[in-house]
């Protein structure tokens, strides 16, 4: 049930923007934002190099030491050497750059004059002395290793293909590529790969990693699946692939900003709700792909453009008299929206996404979500059970996340399929708002079954709301068993917003079991 009255308030937003790091899309966003009248500071850890962003205040050799506050009012301590400054920003743009590490050890190789990294080969190919040498006489043989030290990606493939083609075009020199999966999933790469083959670049795809002897002469042996025999090559140069490394600095930054990374430590996290540049925190954006610069500008202007945002005052409210500052809400908030003021927890209406995880976890029941207060949800439960019991089929109450299951359930009805008569949905902002108490109440009121329907793991808009819901369901199942009741009267399930038929099948199956 959506609360009847919502008081809106205006919150003033600081219009200064901090860009952290000098990744190209972030630098581009910095320049555009400065051009549009924002005060932009670009802080990066590098030396005083030229960064192409006019109107932007550049702070080199600088890192983010501390961060407090929320979107519109981030208070940041920037450290340059042993000098610290406190600044306030409305939004933060992370523009990560990653390092490269040669994977020679994966091939049991030592780097020397003949065994070089991809970066070194690219430099050599720009050196006239080297290219002239490759043009002479019979030329040289250059072998590239790709995809046996790591899975690889299109960016790495592009470098190999371009360098191989360059070698192939130098006199009688020839290029050989030893590849696992050729990652051509990027613009123009298949065409480049084909062009290389037509010009004589040979690509071997052995099933096993090549065996390389780094002796007097270099020696690469593979068992070729096409000719079904050993193939030996004696190249003049071996070029070793490189792996992108995240580095401690990027991980530290993510930890300081309290934003999630993906499994490999890359930003942003791999959650579809964040596509393409959002993080789990309002007002912190990530620019890592070329088109991200534009998308970051759109989001920053959305948030800060007017200098004021209008938000629901009671999105989430802490009862001062109940809060004992136990830090539970601070720890479980996936959006970093909760902070401390005058001895009580405060929830920023700008940063809060209204998921309600904090309200359900608060041991003092001190937090209410404006649109989904405990009182209104309890009324929903009572009403749902009472009306469901009038139906001839078992009465089932389903707590449905409005981002997924509730959408799917409404789609079932709209598309003309039937849900059982005794089935009732209760809309919740996130499965993380489903309290143990709510589930118990549904049973006490007389529901035959209770369903908690959440987003799939990794798809929760509040990152962990579904995890909390899963734990609470398990807890209630234990209690049901302890009371001598059938724990299967309660289930936890996951469903996507676009899967009406699957939702309908899941409901039917549950009801058949009851």
């Amino acid at each position: 049930m959506i609360a009847e009255k919502t008081t809106m308030i205006d919150v003033t937003m600081n219009r200064d923007v901090l860009v952290v790091g000098c990744g190209a899309p972030g630098v581009q966003a910095a320049a555009v934002l400065a051009d549009r009248g924002y005060n932009v500071v670009l802080a990066h850890g590098g030396s005083d190099e030229k960064i192409p962003a006019s109107g932007v205040e550049i702070m080199s050799g600088t890192r983010v030491e501390k961060l407090a506050g929320v979107a519109g009012d981030y208070r940041i301590c920037l450290a340059t050497g042993d000098k610290f400054v406190e600044r306030t920003f409305g939004a933060i743009v992370v523009a990560p750059t990653y390092g490269l590490e040669p994977l020679n050890l994966a091939y049991d190789l030592t780097l020397d004059d003949r065994v070089v990294t991809m970066t070194q080969m690219e430099a050599k190919l720009k050196d006239p002395a080297f290219t002239e040498d490759l043009k002479k006489g019979d030329g040289k043989v250059v072998a590239f290793l790709s995809g046996f030290g790591q899975e690889g990606d299109p960016a790495a493939t592009r470098r190999v293909l371009e360098a191989a083609l360059a070698v192939q075009n130098l006199g009688a020199s020839s290029a050989y590529i030893y590849a696992n999966n050729v990652k051509v999933g990027g613009p123009g790469l298949e065409r480049l790969f084909t062009q290389g083959r037509h010009q004589g670049v040979v690509c071997f795809k052995p099933l096993e990693k090549p065996v390389i002897d780094q002796g007097e002469t270099l020696n690469i042996t593979i068992n070729d699946p096409v000719v079904r025999g050993d193939l030996v090559l004696e190249p003049d140069y071996i070029v070793v692939e490189e792996k992108m490394v995240v580095g401690q600095k990027n991980l530290d930054l993510a930890a300081t900003l309290r934003i999630d990374t993906d499994l490999e430590g890359l930003l942003p996290s791999n959650n579809v709700h964040r596509f393409p540049v959002r993080s789990n925190r309002e007002g912190i954006f990530v620019a890592s792909q070329p088109v991200d610069g534009a998308n970051v500008v759109l989001r920053v202007e959305d948030l800060l453009g007017e200098g004021v945002v209008t938000v629901a005052k009671e999105r989430a409210v802490v009862d001062d008299s109940k809060c004992v500052i136990c830090l539970t809400c601070y720890r479980c908030c996936p959006h970093g929206a909760i902070f401390w003021e005058n001895g009580v927890a405060v929830i920023s209406p700008v940063a809060c996404q209204g998921c309600g995880i904090c309200a359900s976890e608060c041991p003092m029941d001190a937090i209410q979500i404006g649109e989904f207060t405990d009182a209104s949800l309890k009324a929903d439960i009572d009403e749902a059970v009472a009306s469901a019991q009038k139906a001839p089929t078992p009465s089932v109450v389903a707590f449905c996340c409005e981002n997924s299951a509730f959408e799917a359930g409404q789609a079932v009805k709209a598309l003309g399929a039937d849900l059982p008569e005794g089935f009732r949905m209760i809309q919740v902002p996130c499965a993380g708002k489903v309290d143990v108490e709510f589930i118990m109440r549904a049973f006490v009121e007389g529901a035959d079954g209770v369903m908690v329907a959440a987003c799939h793991e990794g798809n929760c808009k509040a990152e962990r709301g579904n995890t909390f819901a899963g734990w609470r369901v398990a807890e209630v199942q234990r209690r049901l068993e302890a009371m001598g009741l059938n724990k299967d009267r309660l289930i936890f399930t996951t469903i996507a917003s676009n899967m009406a038929e699957e939702f309908s099948v899941k409901v039917q199956k549950f009801i058949e079991k009851l």
């Binding site: 899975e151 990606d153 299109p154 999966n181 050729v182 990652k183 051509v184 999933g185 990027g186 613009p187 123009g188 790469l189 298949e190 065409r191 084909t194 795809k205 099933l207 699946p225 079904r228 993906d262 499994l263 490999e264 791999n270 959650n271 579809v272 596509f275 393409p276 792909q289 088109v291 991200d292 534009a294 998308n295 500008v297 759109l298 202007e301 453009g305 007017e306 200098g307 997924s404 959408e407 409404q410 789609a411 709209a414 598309l415 799939h456 793991e457 990794g458 798809n459 996951t494 469903i495 996507a496 917003s497 676009n498 899967m499 009406a500 038929e501 699957e502 309908s504 099948v505 899941k506």
Partner: protein, 381 residues
């Protein structure tokens, strides 16, 4: 800051067009969203969720969400079953719209994939059955008018490869040879994968990659960038639904599937067999099963294997209207036949109209196109 006005036409109502329209509306810019079919959402609104226990980040649910947001947006004016006929650039951009008759609906009631499709049901000509509530007659749909706008975003999308062109696979002849796109629809409509011939869950499934992509004979020198992504995710859902099902993927090179690929790939390899070869042909055998012939890489001899269902991972081809759109808007085509996105001058390209890409990539490109259009409008004043 958001006092900017102006009007932009977005051509194409798939995920790229929807995203571009929504971003423009966020900037307080009026949008004329033109879609030639009877429904918004494009191909991707019909895609299935590919989650196992875990979300596999296919983005299908993002399309549902974007459609919901777009139809709630008063600044976006939608023209369904409408196409662009002409452009006059003498002053602003005067665009002539006409009804599109591209949708074959004779005797049929068409249904949208999402509850956010308005209308959800469209009644074709010569339909005698009773109409569902809220249904609209196809004759009553479509705009015929001239509109003046300040910029245009072309988000005309792609055409799925016509699998019957690879005739040895028997697509269109053998019922249980289906395309990846059909897999999307079947799984979504049946809450699980079933065979077209008998509605039963297949126990042995083959995916054939690069059907229409990376094919020099066809002159298709591009990777479609999405087929490994959907096929591997589908392989995962089959195994999730039925841990005893055997799934094989026939491939040239496995392409990355979004972020966190090494982790995803390692997990999928535990459950799915990968065979590095592109099969030669497919024959029907008894029980509607299929015999697939391929040259096994490690044996070098022809090998025959039987499957209950074969999925052809068809790729992303230039949209059927690309040539016409290119002529009307004077936007050149790339060597591969997609729209060249680098043109500018008030005409911008978003999504797969300019080349293959995932839902996530189309959304990001659409954001960029909207950004460019806003910038153009600002500069024009």
């Amino acid at each position: 800051m958001n006092s900017q006005t102006g009007k932009v036409m977005v051509v194409g109502g798939g995920i790229a067009g929807l995203t571009a329209a929504w971003e423009l509306a966020r900037k307080n810019i009026g949008v004329e969203l033109v879609e030639k079919s009877c429904f918004l959402g494009g191909h991707s609104i019909g895609y299935t969720c590919k989650a196992t226990e875990m979300c596999q980040k296919c983005g299908a649910c993002s399309v549902e969400k974007m459609l919901k947001d777009v139809i709630a947006e008063p600044l976006i004016n939608v023209h369904l079953r409408t196409e662009v006929k002409a452009l006059d650039r003498s002053d602003r951009y005067r665009i002539t719209l006409a009804k599109s008759d591209g949708e074959a609906a004779d005797g049929k009631i068409l249904k949208g994939f999402s509850r956010h499709n308005t209308p959800l049901f469209v009644i074709g000509e010569n339909v005698t059955e009773a109409a569902p509530p809220g249904a609209m007659k196809i004759q009553d749909m479509g705009s015929e008018c001239e509109l003046d706008v300040d910029a245009v975003i072309l988000a005309t999308g792609f055409s799925p490869f016509d699998a019957s062109l690879k005739s040895t696979y028997g697509y269109g002849k053998w019922e249980n040879v289906i395309t990846g796109l059909e897999f999307e629809h079947i799984e979504r409509e049946n809450a699980g994968i079933v065979r077209p011939s008998d509605g039963k869950s297949p126990k042995r499934v083959a995916f054939i990659q690069c059907v229409g992509s990376r094919d020099e004979r066809l002159g298709h020198l591009w990777c479609s960038e999405v087929c490994c992504a959907y096929a591997l995710r589908m392989a995962g859902t089959i195994r999730h639904q039925d841990p005893e099902a055997e799934v094989s993927v026939f491939y040239i090179d496995v392409q990355n599937v979004g972020k966190e690929f090494p982790v995803f790939y390692a997990k999928i390899k535990e459950n799915v067999r990968f065979v590095r070869t592109i099969p030669v042909d497919i024959y029907p055998v008894e029980n509607d099963c299929l015999k697939l012939r391929h040259m096994a890489e490690d044996q070098g001899t022809p090998t025959f294997e039987e499957f209950d269902l074969v999925v052809l991972s068809i790729g992303i081809m230039p949209g059927a209207d690309t040539k016409i759109i290119s002529e009307i808007f004077d936007v050149p085509m790339t060597v591969d036949g997609f729209l060249d996105e680098s043109v500018g001058n008030g005409i911008f390209v978003a999504g797969t109209a300019s080349g293959p890409g995932t839902i996530a990539a189309s959304m990001a490109k659409a954001g960029k196109a909207a950004f460019d259009a806003v910038k153009y409008l600002g500069g024009a004043k």
